[in-house]
Symmetry: D3
Subunit: 137 residues, 6 copies
Amino acid sequence: MASCGFVEYDDAGPEVRAVYDDIMATRKTDWINNFWKALAHDPATLRRTWESVKQIMAPGALDPLTKEMIYVAVSATNQCGYCIASHTASARKAGMTDAMLSELLAVVGMANETNRLASGYQVEIDERFKPRASSAR
Amino acid sequence: MASCGFVEYDDAGPEVRAVYDDIMATRKTDWINNFWKALAHDPATLRRTWESVKQIMAPGALDPLTKEMIYVAVSATNQCGYCIASHTASARKAGMTDAMLSELLAVVGMANETNRLASGYQVEIDERFKPRASSAR
Amino acid sequence: MASCGFVEYDDAGPEVRAVYDDIMATRKTDWINNFWKALAHDPATLRRTWESVKQIMAPGALDPLTKEMIYVAVSATNQCGYCIASHTASARKAGMTDAMLSELLAVVGMANETNRLASGYQVEIDERFKPRASSAR
Amino acid sequence: MASCGFVEYDDAGPEVRAVYDDIMATRKTDWINNFWKALAHDPATLRRTWESVKQIMAPGALDPLTKEMIYVAVSATNQCGYCIASHTASARKAGMTDAMLSELLAVVGMANETNRLASGYQVEIDERFKPRASSAR
Amino acid sequence: MASCGFVEYDDAGPEVRAVYDDIMATRKTDWINNFWKALAHDPATLRRTWESVKQIMAPGALDPLTKEMIYVAVSATNQCGYCIASHTASARKAGMTDAMLSELLAVVGMANETNRLASGYQVEIDERFKPRASSAR
Amino acid sequence: MASCGFVEYDDAGPEVRAVYDDIMATRKTDWINNFWKALAHDPATLRRTWESVKQIMAPGALDPLTKEMIYVAVSATNQCGYCIASHTASARKAGMTDAMLSELLAVVGMANETNRLASGYQVEIDERFKPRASSAR
């Protein structure tokens, strides 16, 4: 289920189908997961979200596996059940092993712990860690 | 400042100094940042936290740079100013370029966005994404 | 289910019934949803929470539909499944269309994204955005 | 600073002064902290919030020190700088020692860590932990 | 300051200047706030983020003031200091009064409270609140 | 289910069994809950996490019941379903009554509310609440 229902491929108009086709081609799969079918009731949001995801998750300075693992790290921190499940699956497809998942979640857990120790103890930022005032380039 | 003050090396007892020495040796630095100096008023917490961080952040199935970037991803999601600053510095020291930071934060931003779209639209998890019932090994 | 069970109308004492009656009269419904039945094992919390909700959600400088949409925005950000479901229903009852829900969630998603870009990049607040030092009135 | 400025006692109308007087009498202090002065531009919110805080933080099944420490735990988890500072001060006034603060924050850190391990590993809830279906009393 | 510094208009290349010009034209202002200057070290992220914000915040099924208030609600929930400051300023510019801000924050506070009561009491979702199984259109 | 499956006692190697035995002995129970069975696919994480939990939750400056209630407070704030269920059960076993749970959650709700009022109104920290500059001891 989803708040506005799912748009299946066969029921979709041409704008939605074009996005669905691009998702399947880009990801080399033959199905569309529920997230996109829930967004598709609003074709503009579907397109904008997909175009952003496609651009951001493409190989660049970071490889796709690293990006998928960062996605899992954020989703676990936010405790988003859907995104943990879907991006764990994506990360495995991109090459994440059980051992890598285990180390990933250990870092996520530790970071969540020390984030609260730092704020709970009201630790002020060391001067050396502050961004420099110099311009960007 | 910090809730219980900072313990400087010169004022520290042998148990705290031993941890400080190990931090500096492990990280190849000659100073201790405020986080550890705030924990040090309680030597047991200082030791336990450092031992966990040291074990978790060591090279393994994931390399140290990837682990530092995951730390930044979690800290940015939680908006912990101290940890964003300190782990951005650590990640840079481990080799993160401006281009890598930029892609890292783009993924963090997008994951935070789609986490809320998934939960806001009440999207149910696809059967294919659910962990299998089979045992671990 | 709920941690302390549900208190049904027929099993409730007069203090709880009085709140239930006021909820149904104020909301023009003939049933009580699980949230209130879970709080009702502690009549003081039930009454205090309902009185606050009733006062806060009443028409004022903002209309009830806007208030319900803000409730959905917070609940989606916190990923509270119960409150997303219940306040999406309330907002629809107050007039929210699918198109409005879609724009609402698009803003929620974008705000969650840019919140992390702002904190992740350690952006300092522009002088012009800071509250003025002047007194309240 | 605060978004709508601060209302000082000398500038306040009788409704705000009555709340300020009750805060100082209840807390046995002779000053009002910034939080209340920021709310006071809206006397109805000031009164409602204070009445709720006063009722909730009063001794009951839990003692005031325990309640103040829970307040710190939540505020550290949410990384709210203002509330960490103000409720750490309140908890100290209620008897919290450095050793108690240290154990409190250790639990907060560990809970934040295991929360993410539980969600990150997609651990399903044990049957024995689920609330029973039985009614409230 | 910001992690990668700020890109000022005079130092910017044509791609960044084009975005800056569009921001100022769309918002009818003559300056660029720090958020965009921090993103601008990565022109692709700057453009994508601005295009998304521009599309999402434009008048549609919801008016711009409502959208700005939703932005404030999310930012206050996430406790993002930068975005609270910048979007409170934007919302005021779009017509938000002190009375509206006060009611907005009262709803934000109450939603954050009841989100935790609902999850803390482990309240299951009422059948009537669940999205229907029917398709989107 | 869990991302990497569960390790049952009968299928576990000696390192995992040693931790399971210690968990059961420490907690005076004869079963292992899903959280530990999900971690056990990675024996090093299982051991480190258990040793930390055991050390942190032991009686000290705070009693075990207070620590379990703080665990519930954090888990409810993070809306972690698994940890709310498991630590509510643990707290009850340690002596938490319905009345104590009710007051605990009332404080959690109120703290989540005032955290957002403080940040939403951009309230600056009172000088008196800031940690003193003096050293730790």
